[in-house]
Amino acid sequence: MTLEISQKIVDAILEQSRAEYPDECCGVVLGPVGADKALRLKPMINSAHSPTFYEFDPKDLLALYREVDDNDEEIVVIYHSHTETEAYPSRTDIAYAGEPGAHYVLVSTRKEIAPATEFRSYRIIDGVVTEEPVVITA
């Protein structure tokens, strides 16, 4: 598997992660059902407001799924930022990963690599993490 995603969406996710620093930021990228195309960025509120945890508010989560259903879309990417560690799924990320069809994107804005950033994508299925290539399109 490969994640194809536009530079514009990548830039917007990185911008969100900087804006919400030191808290983790989170959100989804949606696309038409069955197409595996990450087209529509939808930032979400991290209801944990924490530098070490993120969670979509349960009410926002239901609204998101309703919206996605109504639009014949699906959640293609679930992303969040790591503010002090590398862009690799943490133990809790793996334990709570509940969307076997989604690309889990991690970005890192940790100081050690600034001004560079990391943007990496994974499948997380039954506790197994598989990194996949990211192709950034114009």
Partner: protein, 90 residues
Amino acid sequence: MTIEVRIPTILRPYTKDQKAVSAEGATLSAVITNLDSNYAGLGERLLENGALRRFINVYINDEDVRFLGGLEAPIKDGDSITILPAVAGG
């Protein structure tokens, strides 16, 4: 009384890939017991030590059951239950 329960992708292996199933019960607890008797193993994915799992969200119509009495939340004819895994991590 029969109500509809919407099943998230990750739990569909328990429901033979059905996105929605029927269940019966006057409370959420009874509905989960009924679900588990028809779809073995599903109850275990929703409950832990007799309580709803922290990272499973259950809604009756548009309301989070945590605000409706949790497992004791009453179920009425025509209600719809939606189960969604939390989107969360560290």
